[in-house]
């Protein structure tokens, strides 16, 4: 079973994403801040990381940097609002994230993108 780590501070959004991904048979772990996120990357050993950009303690870019060092082959999907943090989003792409999903988004669309990455 593929393992997905979700790093998102909005509990409602992350729970919906978790619910949807669980339905597709993935094992998921939900964390709400950057510190927990970096710890979970090591302990949970995910096959995919879904992270928001603006999260407490460590932002999405720091998470990506950490993941690139710790698990260089783990694909990352970035969730973020379009328009804001443009520089950060561009930096995320430069760091080689697998996909970028702008908010507002459709969880079903996210599930399809996850499926495509695992293929």
């Amino acid at each position: 079973m593929k393992k997905i780590l979700i790093i998102e501070d909005d509990l409602l959004i992350s729970s919906l994403v978790q619910f949807r991904l669980k339905k597709d048979g993935y094992e998921t772990l939900l964390v709400q801040d950057g510190n927990e996120g970096t710890k979970a990357i090591d302990s949970f050993n995910p096959d995919l990381i879904i992270t928001d950009v603006m999260i407490p303690f460590k932002n999405g870019i720091e998470i990506i940097h950490y993941a690139r060092k710790s698990k260089p082959d783990t694909p990352i999907i970035v969730l973020s609002s379009l328009g804001e943090e443009e520089k950060i989003v561009l930096e995320a792409f430069n760091l080689g994230v697998a996909d970028f999903i702008p908010k507002p988004f459709n969880p079903n669309e996210l599930a399809i993108r996850v499926k495509r990455i695992f293929r």
């Binding site: 509990l11 409602l12 919906l16 619910f19 949807r20 339905k23 507002p104 969880p107 079903n108 669309e109």
Partner: protein
């Protein structure tokens, strides 16, 4: 008739009982008002010593009896005659004078008795020793801690005032701290409750959104809804409040069919009734919250109530009401904005423009209705909209209006002409260049640079010859340069004005052109 003296008004007990104690009393008193003492000599042949006593100073009266001078002090009188009284041969007898009238001992005693009873005289108290004084004083002021200070405190109004003010603020501070603690405790309780509700909401809401179609949600019975959310919770005001916030928050972050499902759920849980009810609140913040919820969840049925709030005296209410109306109305006719009696702020204009810009792609918006608005800020907003939305079809109407409007509106129309690039309005622009209003002239000069004609260039040269300020020269020259380069060069080359040469150098410098 018998008069009975009230014993309480008199000293009944005399301080003497016989002649000895009477004399002691007189000695202790020293002086008795209107009572004097003297001696008289009953011996027909008194000694020369006695007669020559300078203290007693005897004199013979008309009866031939020697009488001493009268003494007011008993002790002086007694000491003066003491040595002679002991000698029997002298035959010295005491004599008393009451109101200068000679009297005997019995009369003098009666007189003193009366004075005593009438409280005209008292027993001389023994003068206390220094130690006694301290004891007496100490007895007079009983030991009471802070007694003296308390007295001073209440008599010193300044001290009392300062202490009262400090006390008042101290009490207020304590009350405020207690109130803050109470509020903090209450909000913590509410937050904790919200977290519990949030965790209760997430699961069932996710299930409804992923497992049910929009149609299925619409057809859900109350019993089926209660399977997802307990009836008790769903009837709770606080739970509903959390549910509203969560659905609206999700609605902002979700797209596609999820948005429709969320809106269907909002109505299914009867949360729309709560949002509409908020419009009737007396608090403006509650009303605006209701308006935001109606706007966010597309509650079209609430538009008649929203319409009523568009001319509210509260800035936030009418701004949100108009924004909601613009967003949700099928036919966006802008009549609501036209009817506004309050001036439109820049913030409101920006907000409405954002909505109108979005709607403009889908629907034709009747901006021309705003041309007839009675409020000047609304007409100005309409002219801006023509330019910002590129509504060339409205230029003809604008052209008819332009000559008859105020200078402020003319300036806005000129900006619109400049923005769209209306080359057919040069006559109007040239007329504005001749205005006495310098702001209108500046706007016309700027517009003429883009949409003026040859005549505009001539007027601008005329204006330059009037030697205006440096800034105006720069605007005029810039416009002439844009209108007719050869005319510009000819004018500059023939001019001796130092400022014009500086401006020319600036305008032609490829690096400074855009500064």
């Amino acid at each position: 008739m018998v008069f009975c003296a009230n014993p309480s008004f008199a000293q009944d007990n005399l301080p003497y009982t016989d002649s000895t104690t009477f004399f002691k009393f007189l000695e202790s008193k020293e002086e008795i008002p209107s009572l004097k003492f003297r001696y008289k000599i009953t011996n027909p042949n008194p000694s020369n010593d006695l007669l020559n006593d300078s203290t007693l100073n005897f004199e013979k009266d008309e009866l031939g009896i020697y009488q001493s001078q009268a003494f007011e002090k008993f002790s002086s009188w007694y000491s003066a005659g003491e040595k002679y009284l002991l000698k029997e041969e002298v035959m010295l007898t005491p004599d008393f004078l009451i109101y200068e009238e000679p009297s005997n001992l019995s009369a003098a005693r009666d007189y003193v008795d009366n004075l005593w009873r009438n409280k005209d005289i008292f027993i001389n108290e023994k003068k206390p020793e220094v130690g006694d004084v301290l004891v007496i004083l100490a007895n007079m002021v009983p030991y009471e801690p802070m007694f003296k200070y308390r007295f001073q405190f209440f008599s010193d109004y300044k001290l009392l005032l300062v202490t009262s003010i400090i006390g008042f603020f101290l009490i207020m501070a304590i009350v405020m701290i207690l109130y803050m603690i109470f509020i903090k405790m209450r909000s913590s309780k509410v937050e904790a409750k919200e977290k519990i509700y949030e965790s209760q909401i997430i699961g069932p809401l996710s299930e409804l959104l992923f497992e049910k179609t929009e149609e299925e949600i619409n057809n859900l019975s109350d019993a089926e809804i209660f399977e997802f959310f307990p009836e008790k919770d769903l009837r709770g005001k606080h739970f509903k409040h959390v549910l509203i916030n969560k659905i609206i928050s999700l609605n902002k972050k979700m797209k596609g069919d999820f948005k429709d499902k969320l809106k269907a759920l909002y109505k299914k849980f009867k949360l729309d009734e709560i949002s509409i009810k908020k419009l009737k609140s007396k608090r403006w913040d509650v009303i605006t919250t209701g308006l935001v919820q109606i706007n966010e969840m597309d509650l079209v049925e609430a538009l008649p109530q929203v319409q009523e709030l568009t001319d509210s005296s509260n800035f936030y209410i009418r701004s949100h009401a108009i924004a909601t109306l613009l967003n949700l109305s099928e036919n966006v006719d802008l009549k609501t904005i036209k009817k506004q009696s309050f001036p439109l702020s820049r913030w409101q204009q920006m907000n409405y423009l954002r909505i109108i810009k979005y709607l403009h792609i889908q629907k034709t918006i009747q901006i021309e209705t705003l041309f007839e608005g009675e409020n000047q800020t609304i007409r100005l907003f309409a002219y801006k909209l023509v330019g910002l939305l590129g509504r060339v079809d409205l230029l003809e109407k604008l052209s008819k209006l332009a000559p008859n409007v105020s200078d402020i509106e003319k300036i806005e129309i000129l900006k619109t002409y400049q923005m769209i690039g209306v080359h057919t309005e040069s006559t109007f622009i040239n007329k504005c260049l001749r205005s006495d209003n310098i702001n209108l002239v500046v706007a016309a000069a700027k517009a003429s640079g883009q949409v003026g004609d040859q005549a505009s260039a001539f007027i601008l040269i005329e204006l330059l010859n009037e030697n205006p300020s440096f800034n105006l020269k720069m605007i005029y020259l810039d416009s002439i340069l844009r209108l007719d380069k050869s005319m510009y060069q000819q004018f500059v080359s023939t001019s001796n004005d130092k400022e014009l040469n500086q401006i020319n150098a600036h305008l032609l410098d490829p690096l400074l052109q855009h500064v």
